[in-house]
Amino acid sequence: MGEFKVHRVRFFNYVPSGIRCVAYNNQSNRLAVSRTDGTVEVYNLSANYFQEKFFPGHESRATEALCWAEGQRLFSAGLNGEIMEYDLQALNIKYAVDVFGGPIWSMAVSPSGSQLLVGCEDGSVKLFQITPDKIQFERNFDRQKSRILSLSWHPSGTHIAAGSIDYISVFDVKSGSAIHKMIVDRQHMGVSKRKCIVWGVAFLSDGTVISVDSAGKVQFWDSATGTLVKSHLIANADVQSIAVAEQEDSFVVGTAEGTVFHFQLVPVTSNSSEKQWVRTKPFQHHTHDVRTVAHSPTALISGGTDTHLVIRPLMEKVEVKNYDAALRKITFPHRRLISCSKKRQLLLFQFAHHLELWRLGSTVATGKNGDTLPLSKNADHLLHLKTKGPENIICSCISPCGSWIAYSTVSRFFLYRLNYEHDNISLKRVSKMPPFLRCALQILFSEDSTKLFVASNQGALHIVQLSGGSFKHLHAFQPQSGTVEAMCLLAVSSDGNWLAASGTSAGVHVYNVKQLKLHCTVPAYNFPVTAMAIAPNTNNLVIAHSDQQVFEYSIPDKQYTDWSRTVQKQGFHHLWLQRDTPITHISFHPKRPMHILLHDAYMFCIIDKSLPLPNDKTLLYNPFPPTNESDVVRRRTAHAFKISKIYKPLLFMDLLDERTLVAVERPLDDIIAQLPPPIKKKKFGT
C-alpha cells in the first residue's frame, strides 16, 4: 500500500473551553451547548451527534443560561446583562437586548414557549414576551435581596421557583409577588458554611420544588406550604446542575466532584401506587465540575469544566440495543482548526484569539515501519498572530503556496501577505477590505493560490483574484432566492474550475468558476456533510456525511460514480458505520488517482477504490504486517480500506507530497494538564 514519512505533530496547544450550559430541544432532537468563552454549538442528536452549527465566542460574553423557545428559537443570556437570540439559518446573532438588571445568572422559557424569564444580579426577575421577531419586556417580579441563580416554571405556567443565595422563592406569575420563601440550610457536613447557593431548581407539576445547592444537597420542597419534604446529601462539594425528564419520572444532577447522579421516581413497594424519589445511579464520566446537565427522553447529557460533552443513554429507555446505546464523549470540534501549506510545509493553527504558523522539520534518514527518524531540522514556530478585539476567530486558512493567510471574526475579515527571505519572515496586512467581506464562515484558496473563495454569513460565495500584493473581487454567487442558509464547507478542484459549497442542513452546490454560474446540485441527503473534497483530474467530488456514508459524485457527468453506486449497493462495513466521530478532512494522492485519504479523530484511512470492498465478515482493521506464508490468504482478503489508528486523537492529517504525511495529534492528557486541578478525593482511610 505504501510507506510514508509521517510528521507527527503534538505541539498544537489547543484546549477546548469548558462547557457552561446545555439545552436540549425535544422537537428537533438538537442540543445547544455554550462554552465559557461564549461559543454556542448546536448538535444534531439524530444525525449521529454531529456538531452542525456554531456561533463564535466573545470575550465579554459569558453565557450563563441557554434555552430553546417555541419554534426552535435559541436564546442565551449572560454576565454582560444581555439576552441574545441566535439565527440558526444565517449562523449569526439576530439581536441582543440589555435587560438592565446587571449580569444575568439564569433564564427559563415558559412551558408554552412564549415567555422568557431572567434572573439578574440585582435580585430582579424579569418577564419578557417572545414576539415573532424579537422579545419585549413585560414586567418585573418582586425584587429579591440577592442574585437569582436559578429559575424554573411550574408546568402549568402559573408559578415559578427562583433559587437565590440561602433561599428559594416561589412566585405567582399573575401577580408577580413572592408567595413563599424557603430557607436552605447552610450546614454542610455539620459545619456551617458562609453561604448556601441554590445552583438549580426544578418545579414539578405536583407542586414539588427540587433544589440543588452548594452544600451538596438535593432537596424536595412542598411549594404549597413552603416546607422541606426530603433532603439527600449526595456530595461533599457543590451540586451545580439539575434537569428533569419531561415525564417527571426521573431527573439528573451534576456535582463539582464530576459525578452525575440519576434520581428516579419508583414505587415504594411493588404494585403500590405510592411513589418516591430514589437516587438510582451514579455516573463518573467527568473529572471536574459538572456545570450543566440535560435530560433527553433516552439519555442523560452532562458537560462541565473538563470540556467533555457526555451523552449517557439510559439503557432502559433505549429500544434497540445498537451502537446508539453506547456512551458518547465529545471533546473536539467537528470542524477543522488546522490548514496546511504543502509547498512550504507550513501548518496554520487556529485558536480562539490567535493564529500560530509553524514550519515542519526535516530528516534525511530512512527507516522501516514504526521507526522514529532522527531530525536534521526541528519544527519552527514562525508566527504568532493575535487578533484585535474581543471576538473569537471563526475560520482561517493558509494558501497552498504559503504566501497568504486569511482569517475572519464576526465583524472583520483579515488577509495577510507573507514574504519569506531565507529564515526571515515578514507579514503585511492587505488593507481596504471591501464591505461585503466582513464575516466569513469558511475561507479557501485555490490550488495555485491565485484565487480566494469566501463563504459569507449572508449565504453568498465570493471569488477574489489575488495577484502580487493586491486583490480584486471577481464575482459573488448569491444564494438561491428565499434562502439565507449559510455555507460552512467549501471545496475547490485542483484545476480551479469547480467550487463545491455545502450548507448546514442539506444540499451541496457545485459552481463553475470559469463561467461563473451554478453547475449542478448534488441530490439531497438526510445527514449533514462533515467533509468534502474534489479529486484532481477526474473532478469527482467526495462527500462524507455524519452517518459515516461516503459518496463520490462526478461533477462533469453530474451523477454518482460507478464506484459510489457499488459502495451504496453493498453497504459499508458495520464497524465503519459505528465510528462515533465524523470525518473532518478528505484529500487525494497526487500519483494514485484510485486513493482517497480521509480521517476522523481516532483513525486515518486510505480507500483504494481498485480493491474489493470489505463485507461484514472480513476484518476491517488489521494493523499487522503480512507474513510470508499467509501472503496468499492476505491477498485474497485484502480490501479497499487501509486503516491506521496509531495517531489519536487526530485533529488533522494531510498528504504533503507522495511519500509524506502530516498528522496533528492532541493527546487528552495534555488538555487535562492545562485544566485547573479537580477536587481532590481521598482514596484511603478517613
Binding site: E3, N369, A379, P625, G685
Partner: protein, 647 residues
C-alpha cells in the same frame, strides 16, 4: 367377603404361552386386552369364547403394561419406556418403537391418571439402585424425567409405589424396605422439561411394616389422607391389611390376613381388592373425612358433615385453662400434628413455586402463622418458618413479628437465618439479636443447628510461631521503634508470651462465632445502632471486642487481608464494628480491669491502621509522580518524524 362368588367369564391362553401383562378393559369399546409372550396383543369381548381365535396383533417391541382408565383410550407402555395409544398402535402394529430409557434401566411401576381431562402417565424406573420418575403429558407430549433422591437412607430398596393426584402435583408414595412410607411431590406442569430434575422424598409414615419382609408388601392411596398397606407390621406377626391416616399419622383400621397375601392390592370404587391365600378378597372401605377428632377416635357420629369443610385449623382450638398432664400432652400432640400438617402443606406449595402471586401468598401465610403464634404461645411451626424464610421473598418489614417471636423463643438459628436473608432489619432488632447471641449459654448453643458457613475452623490453622512472625509483617513499612509513642509498644512487647497465645485462640465457640458473623454481615446505620449498643452489658461487649480483635488478627495473617471460608466477615465490617462498640461503650469498658489489655491491643491496632493508610496515601502520591514522569517521557517529542507503512 365375596370369595364364593363366581367369575362372569374366564379365558385362557394356549399351553406354552405366558400372559405377560395384566388384562385390562377398554372402557370405550367394552373389550378386553391382554398381552402374552411380551409382544402378542389379544383383544376380545364378552361374546368370544376361545382366546386363540380372537383378534391378534404382534408388536415389534415388548410391552410392559397396558393402561386403561375410564374416559380415554388405553395406552400401551413398552419396556423401553415408549408409550402408544392403542388405536395408533393397532393401525400399524409393526411400527418402530423408540427407546426412551437407558440400558439396564427397568420399569418398576406405572400409573395412568386423568388430570383436567388430560391423560398423564407416570412410570418409575430403576437402575443400579437409583430410581427415576418419568411423567408423560399427553396434551403437550412432554416427557419429564426426574431423579428420585432417596435421602439419608441411600441403601433402602423401594418395594412398592402408589400415587394420587392433586390439582397441581402427583404425590408419589413409596414403601421402602426399611418399612417406612415416603412421599415425593412431582409437579404436573414441569418447570423446565429439558433439564434433568431431582426430587427429594420426605418421610410420611414410620415403620408401618416390618423392615425385613421381602414380599407380599403393597400400598395404595385411598384418598388424600388415607393409604392402605399390605404387609406384616412386626417381623413375627401375620400379614395384615392396615389403613393409615397420613395427616394425623394414626392407624385407622387393620385386618389380619392369616393365609398370606401376594403383595397385590387395588382400590376401586370404595372397595379394596387383594389376594388372600388363593382367593380374591374384597373389602368395602369408605374413607371418612379426615379430622383430628376422628383420628383421636372422638368423632361423634351423626355430626353435621358441614363442620368438616371448615378450615382445618379450626379443629385444633386450644382448650382454655388446661392443667392436667394428660391434656397437656394431648394438646402438644395436637399442636405437633398441626405443625406437621402445615409443614406438609407449605412444602407442597413451595414445590410448585410458579404461581404469579407467590410473593403475596408467602406473605399471607407467614402473617397467618405468626398471628397464631402470638395467640397460642405453644404453637411454633419452626420448620415451616425456616422454609418460608428460605424462599428469599420475605423481608423484615413484611413480617416484623417473625423476629420478635424468634427473639422471645431465643431461636438463634431462625434469627441467624433472618439476619442473612432480610435486607431491612432495624438496628434495634439487630442489637437485640446481638444481645441474645452474646448471652446465650454455650450448652444451649450446642443443641442448636446454626449455619456454620461463615466460620472457618480457626483452631487448627494457627501456630504460635507463625502468628508472631505475622505480627512483624503487619507492621510492614513502619517500624515500632521509630514511632513517637512507643512506650506502650514496649510495654506490650514486654508482655509474656502466653498473651499472644491467648489472642490467637478464638474467644468464642464456633457456633457463637457463626451467629456473631451474621451480625457483622447485617446492614446498619451508625446513628441508629449506637444508642442500642449502649444497653449491652460490659462483659458481653468485651467478649465481642475480643472476638473482633481475634478476627482482625486472623485477617492480617494473609496479604489480601481476608478471612478463610465461605462468606467470612470483611476487614471493613470488623473495623467498623470495633469502632462502633468502642464509641458506644468506651467509658464503661475503660473502667474494667480485664478489658485493659484488650484496649491496649486495640489502640495499637488503630495506630497501625492509621499508619497503613498514611503509607498508602504516600504511595499514591509517589505513584502519581511516577505517572507524571512516565507521561513526560511519552510526550518527550512534541514533534517527530516517523515511518508508517500501511498494509
Amino acid at each position: 367377603m365375596v370369595s364364593d362368588q363366581k367369575p362372569l367369564g374366564s379365558w385362557s391362553v394356549k399351553q406354552g404361552q405366558i400372559i405377560t401383562c395384566p388384562a385390562v378393559c377398554n372402557f370405550q369399546t367394552r373389550e378386553y386386552i391382554v398381552v402374552h409372550d411380551n409382544k402378542v396383543l389379544r383383544i376380545w369381548n364378552n361374546e368370544d369364547v376361545n382366546l386363540d381365535k380372537v383378534f391378534k396383533a404382534t408388536l415389534s417391541a415388548e410391552v410392559y403394561r397396558i393402561l386403561s382408565v375410564q374416559g380415554t383410550e388405553p395406552l400401551v407402555l413398552f419396556k423401553e419406556g415408549a408409550v402408544r395409544g392403542l388405536e395408533a398402535l393397532l393401525a400399524d402394529p409393526q411400527q418402530k418403537i423408540e427407546t426412551v430409557i437407558s440400558d439396564e434401566e427397568v420399569i418398576k411401576w406405572t400409573k395412568f391418571f386423568i388430570v383436567f381431562r388430560h391423560p398423564v402417565l407416570i412410570f418409575i424406573t430403576e437402575k443400579h439402585g437409583n430410581y427415576f420418575a418419568y411423567v408423560q403429558m399427553f396434551n403437550s407430549r412432554i416427557l419429564t424425567k426426574y431423579t428420585l433422591l432417596l435421602g439419608q437412607d441411600e441403601n433402602s430398596v423401594i418395594e412398592s409405589f402408589t400415587a394420587s393426584v392433586d390439582r397441581k402435583f402427583i404425590s408419589l408414595m413409596s414403601l421402602s424396605s426399611d418399612g417406612c412410607i415416603y412421599e415425593t411431590l412431582i409437579p404436573i406442569r414441569p418447570t423446565d422439561p429439558e433439564k434433568n430434575q431431582t426430587l427429594v422424598r420426605s418421610l410420611l409414615l414410620k415403620a408401618v411394616v416390618s423392615g425385613n419382609t421381602r414380599n407380599g408388601v403393597a400400598l395404595t392411596a385411598l384418598d388424600q389422607d388415607h393409604i392402605a398397606v399390605l404387609g406384616s407390621p412386626q417381623a413375627a406377626s401375620k400379614e395384615c391389611l392396615s389403613v393409615w391416616n397420613i395427616k394425623f399419622q394414626t392407624l385407622q383400621t387393620s385386618k389380619e390376613l392369616p393365609q398370606g397375601t401376594s403383595g397385590q392390592l387395588w382400590y376401586y370404587g370404595e372397595n379394596l381388592f387383594m389376594l388372600h391365600g388363593k382367593s380374591l378378597t374384597v373389602i368395602p372401605y369408605k374413607c371418612e373425612v379426615s379430622s383430628l377428632a376422628g383420628a383421636l377416635g372422638k368423632l361423634k357420629h351423626g355430626q353435621d358433615p358441614g363442620t368438616h369443610v371448615m378450615p382445618r385449623f379450626v379443629n385444633w382450638e386450644t382448650p382454655q385453662g388446661c392443667g392436667l398432664g394428660f391434656q397437656n400432652s394431648e394438646q402438644s400432640r395436637r399442636i405437633e400434628d398441626s405443625e406437621k400438617h402445615i409443614e406438609v402443606e407449605v412444602r407442597k406449595f413451595l414445590a410448585l413455586k410458579q404461581t404469579p402471586d407467590f410473593h403475596t401468598v408467602i406473605g399471607d401465610t407467614v402473617t397467618g402463622l405468626l398471628e397464631r403464634c402470638k395467640a397460642e404461645p405453644s404453637f411454633y411451626p419452626r420448620n415451616c418458618l425456616v422454609q418460608l424464610i428460605q424462599t428469599h421473598v420475605l423481608s423484615y418489614s413484611l413480617c416484623p413479628d417473625l423476629m420478635e417471636i424468634a427473639l422471645i423463643k431465643k431461636d438463634v438459628q431462625l434469627l441467624q437465618l433472618c439476619l442473612q436473608q432480610f435486607p431491612d432489619i432495624p438496628e434495634s432488632v439487630t442489637c437485640a439479636c446481638l444481645k441474645i447471641f452474646l448471652s446465650i449459654g454455650d450448652d444451649s448453643l450446642q443443641e442448636t443447628d446454626v449455619s456454620m458457613e461463615s466460620v472457618f475452623d480457626y483452631s487448627n490453622s494457627v501456630h504460635d510461631e507463625k502468628m508472631e512472625e505475622q505480627t512483624e509483617i503487619l507492621q510492614n513499612g513502619f517500624s515500632p521503634e521509630e514511632d513517637k509513642c512507643s512506650n506502650c509498644d514496649q510495654e506490650l512487647n514486654k508482655k509474656p508470651q502466653d498473651e499472644t497465645k491467648e489472642s490467637t485462640s478464638c474467644p468464642v465457640v464456633p457456633k457463637r462465632a457463626a451467629l456473631l458473623n451474621a451480625i457483622l454481615h447485617s446492614a446498619y446505620s451508625e446513628t441508629f445502632l449506637l444508642p442500642h449498643l449502649k444497653d449491652i452489658p460490659a462483659q458481653h461487649i468485651t467478649l465481642f471486642l475480643k472476638y473482633l480483635y481475634f478476627l482482625y488478627l486472623k485477617c492480617s495473617e494473609n496479604a489480601t487481608m481476608t478471612l478463610p471460608g465461605i462468606n467470612p466477615p470483611t476487614l471493613n465490617q470488623i473495623m467498623d464494628w470495633i469502632c462502633l462498640l468502642l464509641d458506644a461503650n468506651f467509658t464503661v469498658v475503660v473502667m474494667m480491669p480485664e478489658a485493659k489489655r484488650l484496649l491496649i491491643n486495640l489502640y495499637k491496632l488503630v495506630k497501625s491502621q492509621i499508619s497503613v493508610y498514611s503509607e498508602l496515601n504516600k504511595i499514591e502520591v509517589s505513584f502519581r509522580e511516577l505517572q507524571k514522569l512516565n507521561q513526560e517521557k511519552n510526550n518527550r517529542g512534541l514533534y517527530s518524524i516517523e515511518v508508517l507503512e500501511l498494509f
